[in-house]
Amino acid sequence: MLTLPAFTEGATITDPAPSRQQSLASRRSFAPDHGSLTVTPDLRISRPRIPLALAVPGTLVALAMLLPLTYLLLRAAGAGQEALSFLTSPRIAQLLWQTILLAGAVTLLAALLGVPLAWLTTRTDLPFRRFWSVLLVLPLAIPTYVGAFTLVAALGPRGLLQQALEGGFGIQRLPDIYGFGGATLALTLFTYPYILLTVRGAVLRLDPGFDQASRSLGAGPWITFLRVTIPLLRPSIAAGSLLVALYTLSDFGAVSLLQYDSFTRAIYLQYQGSLDRSIAAVLALVLVSLTGVILFAEAATRGRAKYYRSARSIESLPLYRLGRWVVPAVAFCAMTGLAALILPVAVLLYWFGRGLASSTVNFDSLWLPMISSASVSMLAAATALLAAIPVAILAVRHQGRFSATIERVAYASFALPGIVVALSLVFFGANFVPMLYQTLALLVFAYVVRFLPEAVGAVRSGLLQLNPRLEEVASGLGRRRHQVFLTITAPLIAPAALAGVTLVFMSAMKELPVTLLLSPIGFRTLATTTWNATAGGLYALAAPSALLLVILSAVFLPGLLTADRQAESEHVLDS
């Protein structure tokens, strides 16, 4: 077997052998008194190493994932005095304030929508609960820049509403949709499902025993809700809010289209307009630090209580009766569904129809971007899967410091907004690998860096559900490691891997800033077509590709949600 001496489990990569021996020896001296266990150094067992076939690709993947951030750091470190003094300028303070304000407002509003909706669609006798629980998740299929486009096309200057009012009433101006209000509205409407989904998952996993225990101890439904249910749901509310906050921080499309000055937009404008691109690098680093701080704060404040179901109960929870609250409850669901799904889709359909009628849109202008989008996303998904497999196997089956480091690095791009990845790779490509710059290879690479965590997560959950005894039995029966992987592991994790591939594929289809900055000249995808046309005010031209993106997302969404839920429930049962 090929082995790699340096990467022993439980030892750091740089640990030289003698000190490891020492640390082993010193650990032995901590032995609880079970009599004497003397281990002479000569008797040391040669440990099996992490196989090269995993260690090498794992390391390469980790290095690739580190590239954007590392290069950004180098670039910023090499920045001139001007760029550095920019760090303390009022402009940075203003951007920080506006970005945090937006993230805070969106997260709060999304929670105010998502938590009650989650509770209404699971724990009450809301009429048509199943219908609402599907409908209210679907806005997730609308990329925020598409959502922002529908907002502009409906409420902006020369938008639907204004045209209608102008015709009838001669009104020339509407309240401005651009800026803070518009950005908050768009991001809230299309991200609240993250909170809805995490909270709903937690509600469904709640052990009915807690509820019943509380009721049997004499607490009424409201006391039970406030003192048992809400505290039990707090971790899920926090997790969903974190997703929304991170999404808002990294969102580029909506804030750009709605012209709200947050970090991502500022980075893009700086990159496009200025000669000193180091300033863009400095801005990007500040944004990364901000997401890092939020991730860190969340990890630090996460409650230490663990929430378990006490048994594998499939008993359904008793439903709360809404009584006379049923009308406001239905109205609340209907308004949300209308604003976040029906109206945006209606606007898309309207402009699509107008484009068809005026023959602005022909199918060539639709097919080409679609084929481009699909093929480059497919490449990215397949590459991400290949990169994810060694990382996930290391993390699940070869636990130790080496694997943990690789895994953490692979997840690090969660903290990297798309615009940051794109910017760094633009610099890197232009300066170091000009033959890759403006090629599909670099674009695919950027997608992989950006979406690898999704693939690793899927493969990892597949492996976690796979009983390790199966692989042990197989190797006990004489099969080599790679044979065990091909005959046992691969077929059994295939569904999870497929879910991961689909997830990456969809994310890449929708990704805007990376595509915008790294696409070869003339390479047009659904995302860039939508964006360019909207930015140019050509709503009829933007509608077809936007509509196609929404339809594709909606088609894949239910499957992804089920796969996700299964993985999650298995995970809970394991713990």
Binding site: H34, L37, V39, L43, I45, V473, L477, G478, R479
Partner: protein, 358 residues
Amino acid sequence: MTATGDRLPHSVAPHESDLAVRCAGLSKRFGYTLAVASVDLEVKSGSFVVLLGPSGCGKSTVLRLIAGFEVPDAGMVTIGGRLVVGVKSFVPPDRRWVGMVFQDGALFPHLTVAGNIAYGIRTSAERSSRVDELLDTVGLRGMGNRMPHELSGGEQQRVALARALAPRPTVVLLDEPFSSLDAGLRSRLRTEVRAILRQAGATAIFVTHDQDEALSLADEVAVMWQGRIVQRSTPQELYGSPASYEVAAFVGDANFLSGRADDGSVETELGILAATGAVTGTVHVLVRPEAVRVALDETSEIAVTDIEFFGHDRMYGVALPSGTRLKSRVAGESSIRPGDRVRLEITGPVITFPRASQ
């Protein structure tokens, strides 16, 4: 505390070539916990050895060290005379020729029963005949095309056993294979499995925390306690003369009295009893419940506190005047009721353990 293997008649070190498995000084630590502490174990070819111990005593770890799924911190293992782990050597699990049977069966869910059994058979010429032969052996003829989820728990374990036997391994390792089955099925299956293994001439190491299983199955039982093997003996000897207070408490039902031992007798609150062992001083006195006879006696100060009825026999709980409680196992009909006064009679010699050993 020393292993008491030297009491066995066959304890004269067997020739290496007779041994299917030999472990020497095997140790494994997880964090600061010493899971396996210098375990020596010899398993003769064709024998059936049970590793018995409470959960967490390290018995499964020993099995995993033999199979190669864990790496020891010290010690060595030979399988069929070949060093598989030791100083500067480690043979990976796929080259050790051991068969594994796990608690949950661990059948490959995407393969048929036949596919599972055939997985470890190298030569394609032999494959289908060997699969049929094994299906016959485990009594599942004609079920080769079933999928694992279509089988009952007992059938799954039989397939797991057939799969483990398929490559004719040097030794089969069974890790609590019946513990997820219900009681009736468990006892039927363990008799069957014993017969199948004997018929196949296989060597087996069987891990369990169930003393009944150990006593009824084993040629030899090795009792593990906190990572060490504290006694190795035949089941009869294990029950009749446990090596330590802990072993006595773990294997079978036990009453303990305290007493003062002196040259073949021991003074307890039940009077002076005949004792085995040459211990003197303060001792634990082991009295098995079946050695305690009860008879109604209105003048006695000993009262029956409770009765557990098991069908074939019953267990009386009695309270001595000092407050000490004892159990007495009695077969057959009886008119004794809770609250009755009884006199006790101890049959046969009792066993004593030095108190310091605790």
